[in-house]
Structures are given as C-alpha cells and as structure tokens.
Symmetry: C2
C-alpha cells in the first residue's frame, strides 16, 4: 500500500466515476464516521456512497488504479465491534446504505433478495405488508442495522433461522480484483435453484466471504421463516447462581433432540438490570462494579433470578404443545417455566386496562410494556429495546438511542464454548475477576448457537466521556481475551481492535488466509487488516 | 504439468518416502483401478497407500518436487461418478483406505473424529457398540463406502442429519502447497469448541474443500444424530402418474414448517423395479426401454404406485405422533400413509412365523425381509440393498454386489430443482424422451434436500459387457445434461466425465476458481481436472 492520501486527493479520483455528492471528505462527515463505541476514534479519509453494483465496481477499479484502501460497510451499525470504523485511519469508507433495494420477494419459497443497505426495520415492514405468511429473523441491533452486514459477520438472531449464514445464499460479490461473481448456482445466469440451494457446483464459496475482506457483497438472498402455526415464548427464573451448570446440562438434551430449535438465552441479573435502568451511581456511592449487597437488593426488587432464561418454541400446534410440556418437565428442578403467547399478552392488556384505576393495574401495564419488545424480537420484530441497555454506565443518559450520540462505550467479549455446564462456569470464573478488577460489571448471556455449542455474550459497558474508563475498558478487554484464548475459548466474531492479535501463533493457517487474499484482492484494497492477515503480517 | 511419467518412475520417487508395499504400479493393480461403472476405463500410473497424515505429507512433497498428478480417494466407492478413477489417465492414485482409524468418539456432544478411510459399515458398528445413544447418517452406497468421501462430495443421507457438509467440521487438510491446516477453530491447537462449532474465526473454509481439488483431507469431525425417543418410517403409494405435482406441492409446506425434517424420497415405479428384479429381458423380447404394457403389468403385480414416497419422522413421542397426524392428513388426497415402527416390524415377524405354514405367511415374511434394509437405512444402518439395483440391466447378473466386478454400467443425472410440482414435471418432460430415445428406462427419485429444493436422482443403467450400451449411455448422459443446463437445472454433484464441460460459459467464475487453485496448489498436483478448471482451461 502506498502512503495514505488526503481525502481531497481521493475525492478527485472517485468523483470522476460517481454521481455528484457521492464522495464526501468534509471534516464534519469524516468526524462523524470516526466515532465508535470502542475506546478512541478512527478517522477515515473520505466517505463514498455508491448507489448500485455498477458504482461499486467503479469504486473498486479506481481503488486498484490508485492503491486506495476501501472500507465497505452496510449501514455502520456494527455496535461494539467497530461500528462504522475501519481498523486503521485514512481509508475511504464505502457506505452502502444507499444500496437499500429489496430486489425480489418470493412468497412461494419464502426468500428475499436484498442489497446490503437494507435494514432490519425496512425488511420487516416490507414482509409484514407483502408476505404476511413469513417472518424475518432479526438481531437485537435495532431496526436501523443491516441484514447483510450481520450475515457477513456471521451474526445470529432469535428464531429457528438464527444462524444467518445457514439461511442465506447466492452472494453477489465484487472481488478486490474487480471481478464480479455470484456464489452457489448464482453464477450460472439461468439456474432456477440459485436462491434455494446454497452450495452450487464445485467449491462452495459463501463461507469465505464472511468475516473476511476479499470483496464487497452487493446483493444476497435471505430465506424467510414460514410463520409457524403456533408460537410461545418462555421465561424461566432461576434463583440460585450455582444452578448455572444444571441449567445448561438440562437444556443440552432438549436442543440435541430437536425439542428446542430456536436460540435460547441464559442471562444473568446484571444483563437484565442494564435493560431496565441506569447504573445506580448514587446508591453505589460512585463505586464500580455494583456492590454485592446492592446487586442482591436490585435483584429482589425486580423479582429477577440469578439466571433468567428466555427463548421460544414454534411449529404446529401439537408440536408446540408437546415441546412445551417437555421443556417444563426438564426445567422443573431449576425453576418454573412461564409461557407467553399472543393470546395471553392480549388478555393481559385487556386486564390491565380494566383495572387501570388500581396501582396493580398500572404495574401490570408497565410489565407488559417491558415484555413486548423482547417477545416481538423472538418473532423477528426488530426493536430498539436492547440499545437502551448500552447506556447502563452513562452518567448523563441521553434521549437518543444512538450509542455514538450519547457516547456509550461498548466492547463485546464473546467466546464460543461447548454446550456444557462446566464450561459455562469455567468461562465465568476466568472473566469475572478481570471485569471486577477493572471496575466493570459483567452482564452475560449464554446463547445456544447450535446443538453442541453456545456463545457467552459479555460486554464491557463504559462512558466515553470519562477518559479513564476507555483505558480501563481496553485493558479489561485485552486481559479477558488473553485469558480466554489461553484456556481455548475463541470468539465467534471480533471487533476492529482485536484484528492485530487474531492470528497470533497461527502461522501456517494465517499464511493460507494471506494467499487467499492475494488471489481475491492482490492489491489489498478491500478492508486491509480486517480478519485476514495482510502479506506483511504473515511474514 | 510435465509429460506423464511411467508408473515405475513414479514408484521410484514414492518408495523412498513410503513403507514397503505402499506404492504399486503392477499391471494387475492398475487395471483394477482403471475399472469404472462409467463408459470406458481410466488407467492410473500407480497406486499409493499412505497410512497416516505424515505419509500423505511426504507424498505431496514428492509430487510437488517431480510434478506428479495425484488423485486422492477415500475408499473408491464413488459409484456412478467415476468410482476410483481420475478424470484422466496416468495419475498416481492416493488410496486412503489404510487411513481408517476412528480418532475420537465423544458421547457427551455426539461426534466422532475419523480418517477418510473409515467406512459407513465400520463406523456404524463402532457406534452401535460404543455409543448406542447415537445414530450415524448413511447413504445408500453400501457399508464399504467412505464417510469422508461422501461428505467432501456433498452427498446426503436419509435422517435429519442428511446434509453431510452441515453436520461435519474441523477438516484437517494437506494442501497442494504441502501446508497442513485445520478448518474452523481447529487450527488453534487448544480450541475447546473445535469439533462443536463449525465456523471458527475469520473466513470459513470448509465449503471450499468440498467438490474441489485444493488438498487432501486427512481427518474430519462428523456429528452423530442423537437417537430419537421415537421413530417411524412412512410409505405412501400414489397410483396416478399425474399426481406428481400435487405430491410435491403437498410436501413443501410440511417441510418448510418443520413437520418433516428428514430426507423424503418420491420414487417412480421403475426405481422400485430396479431394486426388486432384473430387467425382464424375456418378457420384453429383448427390447428396451420397458414397453408400457409390461411396465403397467409389473407395477400391478408388485402393487406399486406410479409414485412411491418414503421417509421418516423422528423426535419425542408426542412430536412424532403430531407430525404423523399432519402428514397423513396432508397426503390423504393422493394416497394412504402407512407407518412402520420397530414394534410393528417385530409384530409382523412374529405373525409371519406363526403363519409360516400358509402361503400368505411366507409372502409376508418375504415382504418384511425386503422392507428391513430400507427401513434400517432411514435409521442410519448401512445396507448393500441399493447396490443390487445397479444390476437392473445386466444380461448375466452376478452374485457379487460390487458393480465393478459384475460390470454394471451407471451414470447419474442429478439436477437440483425448486421444491415445486411444476419443476418436477418439467424435469421429467425434458429427460424422459432422451432416455427413451437411447433405449434406457428412467428410474427417478425426487429427494427433498432442504426446505426449498430437491434433487431429481436419475440414472442410466447399462451393461458394460455390451459395447453399444456404453456409447448410448454416454450420448444419453450428454444430451440430458445439455437439455437440463439449458433449462437452468444444474447437478448437485458431477462425475469425472462431466468435468470438462462443467464451467462452459462461466468465464469470470471459472477464473476465480482457477486463482484459488493457484493459491492452494500452485503446481496443480492434486486431482487436476476435478471440479476446478486448471489454469490452461480458464485461459
């Protein structure tokens, strides 16, 4: 890569191939894109807004001609993993949010073909209107977050289609070389099953375009979940902290036997607090993390368990009834399983209205209001609800839910572990003392990813207005990662701050990734430093 | 690639790095490996038998040093797709059948780690003995066929784990460069979830090692299906040929709603005949294909439907009961659904024994005997039963079930199509006249691969002792493929004879595959011509 060029120089190149206003190097614009929930900031040289695959191709051609590092992003809502920032300064951000067309909706087979700028909220609303027989699987990143972005990061949602890579196909990609291909059968122009069968013929390439930097994905097919005949969400409150291992051991057979097939979440009390309130600065007398007595008091006041399990069951009426019975029986030893359905929620609303003149009626209304977004998310309705929880540690919580505006600090620690009680406990034993030492609470959710593994989703919440907190967060993150890696727990996904250390002690494998990078993007213009070691790193 | 070298010259190189007897260029050995169920034969230069990953690494090093084309195979039972043959003559076959160790069995999470030479029969028996709580998913290729070989070809079996790529991970691969890597988290030596979570960190590579020629896979992890609490197989006889579209349309919602989640097969009458008997040469007066009147007569005599649907339902008792009810109701309009369970089979056996002195008792015993292998296969018990059907067109059927010994001719035509009745009919309309014109019957099974697509598994059965039949088969295959491709139906898998035409009119995509080949195997020593166009083809 040649030395970095100024934003003005880059815009000279790109403006020749893009419409008026599609390249912006103004200080204000660049400062906006420099903001991140991670400690520090990363300033780009300019921001490009291509509106079509053809424009992306022209951008890639210019970048190759002038050795310009591009950093593509779908909508820039990669919260806590780098947001809209590149791993290094001075790149040309390729913001694909103008490519937000829904190219095709097929209600016979249940799929949509979309551009990367399509948001969860847009697609959800479109499906609700035009394909009410289907649901979208959504993440908790909010209605504005991109579907393609999450899929390419191998993110997951909440329904039986939670694994987004497994429920998408036919990626159209403009490679670093400038060549445009489609994966699976997609490259055969006339293939009738291109959006229905993922593998195609010959090597299956979809996986290499996830968590990588080989090209810019300009369209993809997303399968939609047929609206199930019946649906129930479930909630299990487990009082005792020490029951974690038993919870996991009891859930594993239910998942392996296919009795549960949606994501199941096991959250601790802190995870729930963060969604309900701010850090109690006053009650804690300014101290962090949350003093134990105060934590117990909050837990009791909210009637929370030490562990709080949520998930859903969907299928035919008879299947759901059968699965609910088995879940309830299996979990009886650790807690009571409460089921919620549309009918029960509506009944609750009616009741709350009927007794709204009583304090208990108003409390019921509040509880139902709090429950709805979570319940909806399990059915694929995007919500801003989880974004609120990012404000947990702010001294001056803001009205905006955009964590960049309120200057929320956020770093995810998300190791994959076997679906085993002993491993769940081991991860907590490793991570909790590190968080405590640095003054951070440990919100944790164990999420079942497949029949055999889960991810421990933990996050460092901090206040970017308080400089020491950023430094402490960075240090805490580094120590937690190192401890987890040493014990064999690797993350399912990484933030831009983690990229440089991703391939430590992985020489032969890192070298192979580098040689793939050479094949797909010989000039190294696409997202250098993202997930794949560059030629110089591997030496 | 330098000009081909003699087997003796190659053995000189390889014998220096392999144990005594692990390289064989004797004419008899090479002639044995030249046999194929396809028309013609393909003679290798020699056959190597490495017994460990270290020996594979040495073989690859020698091949790179002397530009020797290697053709790896697991157990050489790739029936009808090339068997143990390379796409071209003069290669060094790398037969991995000595690498048949079961490296690890984990009964907590239900997986095995195996070498490529492990057969379905070996692994099934091992699991039955050491992990009776699990089932293996098997294909119909017989107990001697390799599990790794099928997985790397993206084959499928019959249970809820039918998609073998989706239920395996952590591939150990010796690349063409000689570098050895493991996919997913596997390359991190200490990763605790390496056998449980498929994607790892960074680009996910598993898919690129399927249907490709980038390296030699020397070990992989295979997930085992937890033995379900309840299991039923089902059989639906549909009398009328014209009901095909309706069958498919009725099955799609059952599959999309998750009521059915194992492979479902819709076979025509010819498919069943081939498994029950030889071609009726005498009754047909030597004519082919089967005269219509004779076909109807055979169908009636066997009490077969024009379409015969088989599959299974597994899960908890309540789930299976519920799914069975819904299947039966959905299919009532086209045929009666018969369920078979272990208990019913045992009861049938007892009954047959009790009335064995009556002709009907003996008939019942025969029917049950015929049913058992198919029923077992749906539960992952490998069987030689489908191999028998390869002899359909032989004039002198042999006692051996090895199609190479009896000189069965076999070519698969296996296009992927949308899970739609109209497409099922369209494929038949395209292919049937071509088969008829060349004198071949059309056995067809539509197999549901996922919730949105299916494969039409059709095969040309011929007698290799009759030279004209081979030529007719090759011609028939070519015409069928061309017609299907022109209509947008591409195969899920291809035989060695199909490789040269695989990437016609796919210039940019083929070029990308070629550049990947350069990255993984710059000297082009691994299976040249297999699935991936070589540098010269792409020019």
């Amino acid at each position: 890569m040649t030395p970095l060029q100024t934003g003005a120089a880059l815009c000279d190149y790109f403006q020749a191939v893009l419409p008026e206003g599609a390249c912006d190097d103004s200080p204000g614009r660049c400062a906006g894109y420099a903001r991140t929930t991670l400690p520090g900031e990363v300033r780009p040289a300019c921001v490009l807004y291509p509106a079509s695959t053809a424009e992306v191709e022209r951008v890639v051609a210019v970048a190759n001609a002038h050795q310009i590092p591009l950093y593509p992003l779908s909508r820039g809502k990669n919260w806590g993993y780098g947001d809209a920032c590149a791993p290094a300064e001075g790149m040309a951000i390729v913001d694909l949010s103008r490519m937000n067309r829904i190219l095709e909706l097929n209600t016979e087979y249940g799929y949509v073909r979309i551009e990367p700028g399509v948001s969860q909220g847009e697609l959800h609303d479109y499906i609700a209107q035009h394909a009410p027989g289907y649901w979208l699987d959504c993440t908790g990143a909010g209605p504005d977050a991109s579907i393609a972005g999450n899929t390419l990061e191998r993110g997951f949602g909440h329904t039986a289609y939670a694994d987004h890579l497994r429920t998408s196909c036919n990626f159209e990609v403009v490679l670093g070389t400038g060549v445009r291909i489609s994966t699976g059968f997609g490259h055969f122009g006339n293939a009738v099953a291109a959006n229905l069968f993922p593998y195609g013929l010959g090597p299956s390439l979809d996986g290499v375009f996830t968590q990588s930097n080989f090209g810019i994905v300009t369209a993809l097919t997303v399968w939609l979940l047929p609206r199930p005949q019946a649906f129930r969400s479930f909630y299990i409150k487990v009082k005792e902290e020490r029951h974690l291992a038993e919870i996991v051991e009891r859930l594993r057979p239910l998942r392996m036997q296919g009795i549960l097939n949606s994501a199941v979440h096991i959250g601790n009390d802190i995870r729930v607090f963060t969604s309900q309130q701010q850090y109690p600065w006053m009650e804690a007398a300014g101290k962090t993390p949350l003093p134990l007595a105060l934590r117990r008091q909050l837990r009791d006041a909210s009637r929370l368990g030490a562990w709080n399990i949520t998930g859903s069951i969907m299928g035919s009426r008879a299947q759901v009834r059968a699965a609910a019975r088995e879940l309830k029986a299996a979990m009886r030893a650790v807690g009571f399983t409460l089921f919620v359905t549309d009918a029960r929620l509506d009944w609750g609303d009616a009741l709350a209205r009927a007794i709204s003149w009583l304090p208990v009626g108003r409390a019921l209304a509040r509880n139902l209001e709090a429950l709805r977004p979570n319940y909806g998310l399990l059915k694929g309705i995007p919500t801003t609800f989880p974004l609120k929880s990012l404000q947990w540690r702010l001294r001056e919580p803001g009205g905006s839910l955009d964590p960049l505006e309120t200057r929320c600090g956020l770093m995810w620690v998300a190791p994959v572990l076997p679906l085993s009680g002993a491993h769940a406990e081991a991860v907590l034993r490793l991570v909790e003392p590190i968080f405590t030492r640095h003054g951070f609470d440990l919100p944790v959710t164990f999420t079942l990813l497949n029949d055999r593994s889960m991810v421990a989703v933990m996050n460092i919440s901090f206040d970017k207005r308080v400089e020491e907190e950023g430094a402490a967060a960075a240090q805490c993150y580094e120590e937690a990662q190192q401890a987890l890696r040493a014990a064999g727990y690797y993350p399912y996904r990484a933030g831009i701050q983690a990229m440089p250390s991703l391939w430590e002690n992985s020489a032969p494998y890192a070298g192979v990734l580098t040689s793939l990078k050479q094949a797909f993007d010989p000039n190294g213009i696409i997202a250098p430093g993202r997930y794949v070691p560059s030629a110089t790193d591997a030496d």
